[in-house]
Symmetry: C2
Subunit: 424 residues, 2 copies
């Protein structure tokens, strides 16, 4: 089965926005084992739209159209679709009621122009849009399914999953389903991961994909099965095998970020955290506090760029700074100890390094960084050189510091990211 | 004149990556007053590619093709292009030498497969790719220009500007050029901006566009002129008029972020900054230190989530916390004073608020935030309610705090963002 995705809007063709809808829709079609053969975009122009609709129906089994469902004069998708395939426009009363109800729910009255959004081609089925005013629709032409969806990503995503995919599956019963999971790992390079999982990947019915999303490496087991249940069972088994092989290297599933995992563990264990940052400049604190409810376990942090700040606010002994320099394991540890004492937290992490582009020296080149962790009965510091640009240096160091907190809470050994490990 | 953009690659049609090349290329074509009528993407499939090439040439004057120029078996663009239009493939020796030189420059030897990248359709002109191995090419068919470019954005961007646009302009002399600028404003809502600039926008030859990039509002004057010089002169005049109308509301041009503007001012004036953050949780420090060289003017910060931390690390009097609560102008000011004294900085900003989703009270609902600035002879605090989700609440508060630093350095009055101003 072939899929085709068509997005509509002048703003796309003028390059004003990057169209992420096409990749989303194609990824979702793959879940039903439908490969997209063509992506296209046209302006809000009836002739170009007609041409695109005709061609799509001539070569694809499923056509997904997004955009042009709004209430303005530029929004022509439904009108042109109806004309292209010789259908009249008919008002769909339940959709009109839904649009009115939507406006009422946000305390506004429906403007007359919005009524147009309840018009559908004769014979089309309305698709509910719980997050916006424009309903979608499904029109069948010559046995091909054409779905029209709004261009707003939030609305599109929900409708694709709840309205479109079930209708494609129902129209083509007995088709294979394709399912995938995403496991997030931190600390091992892609080639090492592939090697470690070589036999897991060989289990046949599940294909294991690898992808880097700096500083993480993502594992994506994917399977094609007769039913969602069968697919889920297979993926459960493979994910269990991967987790038992990799242990704490797998830190989360799906989109869950490291700071959410750390937060959940701190909350469960009723422990608290404080951070002392030099080269990460506040980004550890920023990430920890981006999680709602972080005030339950995060006491605070100190960003100490200067030596004076390290002395005064983190009680780092002047003598340590003189003897080892600000970028040293000794100072990192003293920073962690200092912030832990000041805030009275259970755990503390500290970073001090040279993110660049300037500031390096022969014995401490740009990219040098020391990370330290302090907790009751546990103190550890390590020095690395990450030869990366400033932004990536900060991002990797931040992720490493958070990972050390996570590992400490899980009573796992602290590890360094092998990808970039290069001790000086 | 019509443009068409065609991108090639299985990964696009599987939805594995979001294609940003199409919007880039269309935006660039507009600079030569060429509107893109169609965007298309096809897999690495010769039949689909042939079909797409033929249709593009039948309806567009300029066709931009990206992707499929690599050395692997999947990279078929040049081969299929040649076959589609009845051309032989010929080896382009200067390109082969350039590929060899490229590998030599990174200390590697050219693999035999890479030689294929020097093959071009007979009659095509090679386009230099200074950042990669694959040269591009320009083939003319029936008076239409077809440009093939690599899919790697970095390489594509450079080649579009240096190789493609000049050749389109040369082929169509006397065409208008289109130029635009981007002015970044913070603090005034879009409708107020439109009103304030109504007569500036009416100057005729320049069209003024408005766009929101939360929490900023962007102004985009655009003009169509006979030459780049004429366009630049017009835009200079309009930008000057806008700046004299809006004053300090315009904080930067192009992509320069607020933290870079603040950093530049601090550096020029040889002044230093420290920050005290509660609800922004480190994001002010994170943004300030994302700028290379921030250690010259940024002394550091304290993230004080708990009352105890505010007392102990920022010397906020317990009595103030008891009387006014942590989220109060009084406490915000005390935080700013405290961090300024601790770090010995010239300026300090502080934030304390309820970013949500939890934690609100009747007199201090979720979204309440107090921001304070302290400098020699200048102390100011204000309370706002921003009814936004957590991420946007933090982002707006951070931008506001940075803007106050900027305004203080410019000796301008501190203003509140009118968009969301709703004092409680």
């Amino acid at each position: 089965m072939k899929g085709e995705v068509l997005t509509i809007g002048d703003e796309l063709l003028r390059g004003e926005i990057i169209d992420s809808n096409k990749s989303f829709l194609s990824e979702r079609l793959l879940r039903l084992d439908i490969e997209t053969h063509f992506h296209g975009s046209v302006r809000d122009d009836p002739a170009d739209m007609t041409d695109a609709f005709r061609r799509a129906v001539s070569r694809a089994d499923v056509v997904l159209v997004s955009g042009g469902l709004g209430p303005t004069r530029d929004d022509l998708t439904i009108e042109v679709l109806a004309r292209t395939f010789g259908r009249k426009l008919v008002r769909h009363e339940p959709s009109l009621a839904a649009i009115r109800a939507f406006f009422a729910s946000v305390g506004r009255e429906m403007a007359p122009v919005n009524a147009k959004q309840a018009d559908l081609p004769e014979g089309a089925e309305a698709l509910a849009n719980p997050l916006g005013t424009a309903p979608g629709c499904l029109l069948e032409v010559d046995g091909r399914q054409i779905f029209c969806l709004p261009g707003v990503p939030r609305e599109l995503h929900r409708m694709m999953d709840e309205e479109v995919l079930p209708r494609i599956a129902a129209r083509h019963p007995g088709r294979a389903v394709v399912r995938a999971r995403l496991l997030r790992t931190f600390g091992m390079g892609e080639s090492n991961l592939e090697e470690a999982l070589a036999d897991v990947a060989k289990e046949g019915e599940v294909v294991l994909g690898f992808r880097t999303a700096f500083p993480d490496n993502l594992l994506r087991p994917l399977t094609r099965a007769a039913s969602a249940e069968e697919a889920d069972a297979r993926l459960d088994a493979v994910c269990t095998a991967i987790r038992s092989r990799l242990g704490a290297l797998v830190y989360a599933e799906g989109d869950e970020p490291m700071e959410a995992v750390v937060g959940e563990l701190l909350r469960e264990q009723r422990r608290t955290l404080a951070v002392a940052e030099s080269c990460t400049g506040g980004s550890i604190a920023e990430r920890v506090t981006s999680v709602a409810g972080a005030s339950k376990y995060f006491l605070g942090g100190v960003v100490a760029y200067s030596n004076e700040a390290k002395r005064k606010l983190l009680d780092v002994p002047a003598e340590l700074l003189d003897r080892h320099g600000a970028v040293s394991e000794e100072v990192a540890l003293a920073m962690a100890d200092g912030v832990r004492a000041r805030f009275g937290s259970d755990l503390a992490v500290a970073t001090t390094g040279i993110s660049g582009p300037g500031g390096g020296a022969a014995d401490k080149p740009v990219g040098t960084v020391c990370v330290a962790l302090a907790a009751a009965g546990e103190r550890h510091a390590e020095r690395f050189v990450f030869p990366l640009d400033r932004a990536r240096h900060r991002s990797l160091t931040t992720q490493l510091a958070l990972d050390w907190v996570r590992r400490t809470l899980l009573r796992q050994p602290l590890v360094a990211p092998t990808i970039l490990r290069r001790r000086s």
